[in-house]
């Protein structure tokens, strides 16, 4: 791959990046709006002599990934919302077994079957887990097709580096859109997996990768260890971007492809003389709590913009710790909030702050209380 830019769909970008990252096996089952990932890889993986299985279900697919990564190779599956729900049991196992599973969720609308429109309703499931027990995934949220490439590379690296299941949380908009992107080379070093990978018990004691500890003390220690590991991940890997936050009085906060709209809204508002900045977590898990808290401590108000009923909103509120005001602008799914709508909402929030419209009136229009 050269540095030359190509116009490519987000789904294809993820698929090609997986190939470049050295993904040896893909297992998947079709679901709109991510089917192109499997379609693209079906041909390419066969050309490259790598593994590709049309799994019988998402249950099959994610468990095939678990089997494959247990042998030390890079492997992944991709799916969307309601079908990612089917994979939650396996993700809980993978976290406990410390298996470097890579999973792509190109979000559509929920709950239930929902519809194929893009949405951001799976934040809670991705960040807080739909599986049982105390575990955490690493969750990366791209906002451009270029980031579909970059964060796919990073997902494969982080998954193996920390032996932790890692999710790329995209949405139907990103999956379906085309945008110029360059691939470059896979930028991360290869992780040494020889200390744990299953390769047959040749010249070493047999290894078992399992989550059952029949002794209580061992189970307790195991959970502590998993969480200590995640503290290290949070320390080393938390990432975000911010724009114009220094002099900002109001900070728009969004993740994924909504980032594009808050940046544009910020530019419009700045042109109107409003001191507005942007903050956007790239890692949703680990979440940049400290960085948001630091901004809140300087008295900057947060305006969270999401295509759901207030999921990341809770994390922002948790980070802010009541030190500044947090407002919410949202739509549950479908037509992405437009730049104009966001600008209008922010102007009302600013007006309410300045006392020209009542807080209650504003609240009833834009904020969802939770």
């Amino acid at each position: 791959m050269t540095e030359e830019k190509v116009l490519i769909k987000g789904n294809y970008a993820i698929a090609q990046a997986a190939i470049n990252a050295g993904c040896q096996c893909y297992f998947g089952y079709p679901i709109t709006p991510q089917t192109e990932i499997g379609e693209y890889l079906s041909g390419k993986m066969q050309e490259l002599g790598r593994a590709y299985v049309c799994a019988e279900s998402e249950l099959g697919a994610i468990n095939m990934v678990m089997g494959a990564v247990a042998t030390g190779v890079k492997a992944m599956t991709s799916s969307s919302s309601c079908a990612v729900s089917l994979m939650q049991e396996a993700l809980s196992y993978a976290a406990s077994d410390e298996l470097p599973v890579v999973l792509v969720n190109v979000m559509r609308t929920g709950p239930g079957l929902g519809y194929i429109y893009p949405a951001q309703g799976d934040y809670n499931q991705a960040v807080y887990g739909g599986g049982n027990g105390d575990y955490k995934l690493i969750v990366l949220a791209p906002s451009t097709v270029q980031e579909c490439v970059d964060l796919t590379y990073r997902a494969f690296y982080l998954a193996q580096k920390y032996r932790n299941p890692t999710m790329i949380l995209a949405d139907g908009l990103l999956g379906q859109m085309m945008e110029p992107a360059s691939f470059g080379e896979y930028p991360y070093p290869e992780v040494d997996v020889s200390s744990w990978a299953l390769t047959g018990a040749k010249g070493r004691p047999a290894r078992t990768i399992y989550s059952v500890a029949t002794e209580e003390k061992k189970q307790i220690q195991h959970i502590y260890d998993l969480h200590k590991k995640f503290e290290v991940i949070a320390e080393n890997e938390t990432s975000y971007e911010e724009f114009n936050t220094e002099d900002a009085e109001f900070i728009l906060v969004a993740f994924g492809s909504m980032t594009r709209n808050i940046k544009a809204a910020m530019n419009v508002l700045r042109a109107q003389g409003k001191k507005v900045g942007c903050f956007r977590p790239i890692t949703l898990s680990p979440f940049p709590y400290k960085n948001i808290k630091a901004l809140a401590e300087k008295g900057k108000d947060m305006i969270v913009v999401e295509m759901n009923m207030g999921q990341m909103l809770k994390d922002v509120k948790y980070a802010v710790e009541g030190k500044s005001q947090v407002s919410f602008v949202n739509r549950p799914c479908g037509e992405w909030l437009s730049v104009e709508e966001i600008v209008a909402a922010v102007n009302e929030i600013i007006a309410a702050k300045e006392g020209s419209i009542s807080g209650k009136e504003m609240e009833s229009r834009y904020a969802t209380s939770i």
Partner: protein, 181 residues
């Protein structure tokens, strides 16, 4: 400054491909660009459309409620998207399949017999490329030169033999308005 386009027609008219050519042209021109299709069930019947947003700075939302330009290849698409053109915007229609009506007075209309022009080249399959030619003379930010490069890129090595036909389609499309004027 962002400009956006909707290209629409019925399935098989190659509107997604036309959009891909246009987006490639903008990319090759060094601009920021996005292409976003209607997708899923909508695609399996009725009209197909895609949106292209081009910008000198980063592209904001890729899916917008209204559009600066609508390039429509059939009547259904005309009826639907004439309502989504911004005040002062332009709708460019394939008069081979679209009646020359003007339901609004606050937008510009361009009609060209794209289907007939394509047929004159021996195949209606290039209607989409003809339409891009028409667009290039109706919209100054669309460059004929880069559209040709976009066609070349999209056809790739495998379909290189189709390049002369497509270039001809682009050129005839671009001339269509000049002849009328």
């Amino acid at each position: 400054m962002e400009t956006n386009f909707i290209i629409a027609g019925f399935g098989g008219q190659g509107v997604l491909l036309a959009g891909t050519v246009l987006a490639n042209a903008f990319m090759l021109q060094g601009k920021n660009v996005t292409w976003y299709p209607c997708y899923g069930a909508e695609m399996r019947g009725g009209t197909v459309n895609c949106e292209i947003v081009v910008s000198d700075t980063e592209v904001s939302s890729v899916h917008k409620q209204d559009t600066d330009y609508a390039l429509v290849l059939n009547q259904q698409s005309f009826d639907r998207f004439v309502q989504r053109v911004k005040k002062g915007g332009t709708i460019i229609a394939n008069s081979t399949l679209v009646e020359k009506t003007k339901p609004r007075y606050d937008i510009h209309y361009v009609f060209a017999p794209m289907g007939e022009i394509a047929n004159s080249l021996g195949t209606s399959k290039v209607t989409n490329v003809v339409s891009l030619g028409v667009l290039s003379s109706a919209c100054e930010i669309v460059s004929k030169e880069f559209l040709a490069k976009g066609v070349e890129k999209v056809l790739g090595e495998k379909k290189r033999d189709l390049l002369p036909l497509n270039n001809k389609a682009l050129a005839l499309g671009a001339e269509a308005l000049l002849q009328k004027a």
